[in-house]
Symmetry: C2
Subunit: 338 residues, 2 copies
Amino acid sequence: MQPVTIKTIAEQLGLSIATVSRALKDSHEISQATREKVKQAALELGYQPNVNASGLRAGSSKTIAVMVPEVENHFFSQVISGIESVAREYDYHVLIYLTHEDPKKEEAFAHLLGNGRADGLLISVTHNKNGYAHLNRLSQAGFPMVFFDRLVEEVEVPHVCTNNEAISYEATSLLYQRGAKKPAFLGLDPDLFITRTRQAGYQRAVEQFDPGAIPLLFAGSGKPAQDLPRLHAFFKEHHPDGFLGAAESMALLLYELGSQENFQIPKDYQLISFTNLSAVPFLHPSLTAIVQPAFEIGKEAAELLFKVIKKKKIYPAERKRILPSCIRLAASLRASKG
Amino acid sequence: MQPVTIKTIAEQLGLSIATVSRALKDSHEISQATREKVKQAALELGYQPNVNASGLRAGSSKTIAVMVPEVENHFFSQVISGIESVAREYDYHVLIYLTHEDPKKEEAFAHLLGNGRADGLLISVTHNKNGYAHLNRLSQAGFPMVFFDRLVEEVEVPHVCTNNEAISYEATSLLYQRGAKKPAFLGLDPDLFITRTRQAGYQRAVEQFDPGAIPLLFAGSGKPAQDLPRLHAFFKEHHPDGFLGAAESMALLLYELGSQENFQIPKDYQLISFTNLSAVPFLHPSLTAIVQPAFEIGKEAAELLFKVIKKKKIYPAERKRILPSCIRLAASLRASKG
DNA sequence: TTTACTTATGCAAACGTTTACGCGGATTTT
DNA sequence: AAAATCCGCGTAAACGTTTGCATAAGTAAA
């Protein structure tokens, strides 16, 4: 069974393919009667326009690409969901690329995008010690692109992120207020935007609550198997009494550590982490979560990307969109507060 | 800056586009010298073959589609990750479609796939009281397709799933062995494959441990906002003392219920649920999890799909692939066991 | 009746690739 | 030396769609 094309319809109705094409697009050049006949036939034959043909002709694909480090992560999966909802509104399709924190993969994927497969890219980058020339090249070539969450400031592209510095400051302050004396910061690579900004908030709080203190900084890879032993060593060396996890992967890592070291939380240790896990309220020991508006980030980033794709005017203020995160207190603290 | 095509290279080197095309594909018809010149030029110019053009020509897209109810769910996100890893091996791209448990969306998406955008489909269906004619049509038309997890037996398509009946029987037995007298089954729509098979396992155990007892069955929609009040009513009416959650969404629902009804678990209630949440070991009250090999399911399903796409022989035994789930005891029980 | 203009349709080119076929020229075979 | 073979490359058609231009018929204006 060969596919039904515009030609099939044309032959069946004794019309030219040009007429059929125009009729299907409701062109005013075609008579009402013909238009209806064509549409009827298309429906009956189950005609579906070939996307490669129209894409080739139009130079577009009605597809956007999403590149993220991983999808087994509530933050990213919620972002993807937000992106998908907007894409659907615009009748666009969504390609996903998982970099698994491997900069080589990110470069390879970026290289693949210049070929008409996608009309734009939404990306949350992976740490790359060699910089982001691959993204700069893409952007310079006029390829529509928007960063979210893990952005790259050197690349001149609109972005959507959260109030990292402020919320981290607030969270660290909370650690001190609850009695922590030596709170530690657990981040990913310090060069990564989210680590840098969140660490800045942490450090500002440290300076304020404990002037002159040396910040306790742990830099993870995002891969539990690698990070756990290193976190253990970090713990043994510095004996922190509170933690700010600056990424979702850090939250689980802390729990692994806690269960092995037999933490008494919140008696001995205060735990706060960025995380979008929906099970947070039921975790034990309880966790205070910094929740990012992931779904909205996805939506806003996608809306922004479509503005770029459709070449709509983007006001300078829109180019750097900042959505606020919120701190969701652990159940134990909520109770003692009420 | 217009895109660099095969023509650009041809003009620059004074060759025909045919030669360039062949040289890029390492055709033996082209001299070594020319081949190298062409490749060098392609590299310098950053040439990327236009996928619409080659796709149109070849009638393929090097893309597969994945259709799932949602992505904010560890099971599905792990499956997607598994799929993506295989797709990458085959140099294929991955489109995602989220149905959000809406059969209308599933039908609409299925209708979109006949147009050359994807070469195959991996799908975990949504309950549809009108049946699955849309999938049957696609499959009948020769579109490569593989089901995973939520499959449809009426549609003659290979699938990958887990030992639903057996593991549910085992889990329900465990509920009884731990002292439950009236365990309840929480599933999605009873017509859905996973609900039906898991329920069968539950009922077999009920028959065995408490012959003649009436099974306590709750049918949820998968949307917490709708399900929670109904689950409350169910709880008040039947007073079950144990639960088997037959889907990841049921696990969280149980915790919501538990926190509102102030469950004492496992003193008063036994909790077992299908779930791939990585935070399970840290949940309180503790949960015994039925963990599906999600990543492997994704991998196997994708491998199967590629066999279909590449028209390789698929032995009857391969058409129904069953991977075993495993029961991960709650920490409290592990301790008392050790 | 001729001219001008509208309406409905067809022709053909173009998007970028791939590939069957053909054609010179060099090399080998008879 | 003529014939056959082969190498390296070019010409052109095809994939399915869209669209500028042409054209035919019909209608209105002069």
